[in-house]
């Protein structure tokens, strides 16, 4: 089949009745978990991963992609109505969104948030459609040294971004890599770190670990968390309409936020969080009315929501074209692809062209569905914010247990789930981010395999990494990122001595 025919076959697959319904289910579930207190898209996707195993790969991946995009929309509803971010990436939306709701303008704020998400999401998907195949075409020539460099730099840059302490980040990555080493070594067949336990021979499955860290820890946290009541807002369709002034002020903010978010999504790290701050700062500095920011400026809702959606799409570029995730959510998406026997990366478009284009087409469809779900039906989602946590969390717990059990039909995975639930709860209290641990588990085996292959290629001369332009440049960036704080300190010390 030619390239164009592949695209058509993918689009036709996405438009089949079954896949349209799955897409609708995915975006609705995504919006639901975005709105629900506590449970986020990472927890929801990890909970549903085992369920998708029962589905055909295209349908399973469309469901996961739907939840991914839906979660980004839903987070803004609680930010605006309750002043509690559904997701860390919705924190900035709280500042002006909640102020607008207090002023009786919750409807327009929610409408602008949904429109901003839609426009930025669409821009992001268009850029993804063109950029991912182009990058994959270039990456097809990559060898193990390039992949090793990409994964290593991804981990190093992520750790600089996800915590203020490099020690805590590297510690979490190391824990993840060590956990990924448990079981049979694929290259030699040797048993490693099994402690003579038969349960550990096949290694630790990452699904119960992710479910524990993100799902069970929420159940434990729910025993003490207090939940605020949402602002009562009249969210009938006629009250949602933004004014001409709102649209005029929001349009440039959405465009700038969307592009900025997409570009930041290409960089390793929690870009969907950082981009919201960057977009907010940028809009405030460009605005003719900066004094309104923090008091209910509509741009203060439009820009971060657009940036969040742009970044969420941008992070899919390295995942789909290189097969390397740069943050936890794409890492879980990578695992979703892999459990369906599809390896994202340069070869994916040749090996599974229909599936690739069906997933991309479903993103366009899902984005339109999300606009419909989040504009006329926003009142329904607002009611979900009233849902009782003490009913929700036991259900989350049961779902986690079934999900963990069904991976290998093994109660040992349920025990792993609980252990990592407690660890996730403790990390939360210690204000330590678990996402480097997840990336360590998923990227650890890739790091080991590519280093082994590179060592064989270079016959022990590791300096050869620097003789290849791509791996050399990437490793130089990695070294710079790691030693940048030390260089800055040295620079300050020298400057201080000069001025003295």
């Amino acid at each position: 089949m030619s390239g164009f025919e592949d695209i058509l076959a993918g689009v036709a697959s996405a438009f089949s009745i079954g896949n349209l319904l799955i897409c609708l289910l995915g975006v609705a579930l995504g919006t639901l978990v975005g709105v629900l207190p506590g449970l986020g898209p990472v927890g929801a996707i990890s909970m549903l991963l085992p369920v998708t195993l029962m589905m055909e790969p295209t349908a399973g991946l469309i469901l996961i992609a739907g939840i991914y995009f839906g979660g980004m929309y839903g987070g803004s509803t609680t930010s605006i109505l309750v002043n509690i971010p559904g997701e860390a990436s919705s924190v900035v939306t709280c500042i002006d969104g909640y102020k607008l709701a207090q002023k009786g303008r919750a409807g327009p704020a929610l409408a602008i948030a949904a429109l901003a998400s839609f426009v930025a999401g669409t821009i992001g998907i268009i850029l993804l459609t063109f950029l991912a195949p182009t990058l994959a075409g270039a990456a097809i020539r990559f060898g193990p040294p390039e992949y090793f460099a990409i994964v290593l730099v991804g981990l190093l840059v992520l750790s600089r971004m996800s915590d203020t302490s490099i020690v805590r980040s590297y510690l979490m990555i190391s824990v993840g890599v060590v956990l990924s080493l448990i079981g049979i070594d694929q290259a030699s067949g040797t048993l490693r770190l099994t402690f003579n336990s038969p349960h550990l021979i096949d290694g630790l499955d990452f699904i119960p670990i992710i479910m524990g860290l993100y799902g069970m820890s929420e159940v434990l946290n729910a025993m003490e968390a207090s939940y605020k009541k949402p602002i009562k807002a009249d969210l009938r369709l006629r009250n949602l309409m933004p004014t001409k002034e709102d649209i005029k002020r929001s349009t440039p903010a959405v465009m700038r936020g969307g592009f900025l978010g997409f570009l930041m999504g290409l960089i390793p790290g929690p870009s969907s969080i950082i981009s919201t701050y960057a977009a907010y700062k940028m809009e405030k500095s460009l605005s003719k009315r900066p004094e309104e920011f923090g008091k209910g400026a509509i741009e203060g809702v439009a820009a971060p929501e657009a940036a969040n959606n742009g970044a969420s799409t941008g992070t899919l570029v390295p995942l789909l074209s290189l097969g390397v995730p740069f943050s936890p959510l794409p890492a879980i998406l990578l695992s979703a692809f892999m459990i369906h026997g599809v390896t994202p990366g340069p070869l994916m478009m040749n090996e599974h062209p229909t599936l690739f284009w069906a997933v991309i087409a479903s993103m366009y469809i899902g984005n339109v569905m999300l606009l419909v779900l989040n504009l006329p039906l926003v009142g329904m989602w607002a009611k979900v914010t009233h849902m009782s946590v003490n009913v929700l969390m036991p259900l989350v717990m049961m779902f986690c247990i079934i999900g963990a059990y069904s991976v290998n039909n093994n109660m040992f995975d349920v025990v792993v789930l609980m252990v990592f639930g407690v660890i996730g709860y403790m990390l939360r209290k210690a204000k330590m981010e678990p996402s480097p641990l997840i990336l360590g588990i998923i990227l650890g085996p890739i790091l080991e395999n590519t280093l082994n292959q590179s060592a064989l290629m270079f016959q022990g001369n590791m300096l050869s990494f620097f003789t290849r332009p791509i791996s050399g440049t990437l490793l130089a960036i990695g070294l710079l990122v790691t030693f940048w704080p030390l260089l800055r300190k040295a620079q300050r010390a020298i400057m201080g001595r000069k001025t003295a």
Binding site: A88, V167, M398, K431, G460
Partner: protein
């Protein structure tokens, strides 16, 4: 840094130190190989050492911080996001930290709750072996609902409803074989 953050980081650092040492102990018989031919022991030894070293650095830095600020409550709090102005002063890592603080600003550790929920899990594992998955889930969801504040008939409905839906959806519809239990 609050006393809770200090304590939980100490526990985390101790656990990762134990994991690092166990990794090194388990890797002692594995061949390390050479730079041209990496063997199965290479990664466990490198990352086990890294884990041990980083855990020690974390623990020492925590002790050092405590030594410097005897009263941990007096140390400056993390930057938070409460206003448009506060955003101007954040760098990327601080922005991520502030976002996570804002999403999760509680500062208590519910040890009894965590222990009770772990107990529910242990009970679930035992009951699954004895009574089977469906009945065990009914009992344990009800128990979890109780721990989360549900009372009276709501607990009963939640337990029975969850067990029924679990059985219908997962066993009957999806065909996941849920364990039957020794007594059935």
């Amino acid at each position: 840094m609050t006393p809770l953050v200090f304590r939980t980081r100490m526990i985390t650092g101790t656990l990762t130190l134990i994991l690092g040492l166990l990794t090194l102990w388990q890797s002692r018989g594995l061949p390390f190989g050479s730079i041209s031919n990496l063997r199965p022991g290479f990664f466990p030894i490198i990352f086990g050492s890294l884990l041990t070293l980083l855990s020690l650095i974390l623990l020492i830095s925590l002790f050092w911080e405590r030594f410097k600020n005897k009263n941990l409550e007096q140390t400056p709090p993390a930057k938070t996001v409460t206003s448009a102005e506060s955003i101007d002063n954040l760098n990327a890592a601080e922005a991520v930290k502030a976002a996570e603080e804002a999403e999760n600003d509680d500062d208590t550790f519910n040890l009894k709750g965590v222990a009770a929920m772990t107990g529910v899990f242990a009970l679930f594992v035992v009951l699954t072996y004895l009574l089977g998955y469906t009945l065990a889930s009914a009992v344990c969801v009800a128990a979890a609902g109780f721990l989360l504040g549900l009372r009276r008939w709501k607990i009963l409905w939640l337990g029975i409803g969850t067990a029924l839906v679990t059985w219908l959806v997962f066993e009957k519809w999806m065909g996941i074989p849920l364990p039957d239990g020794l007594w059935f």
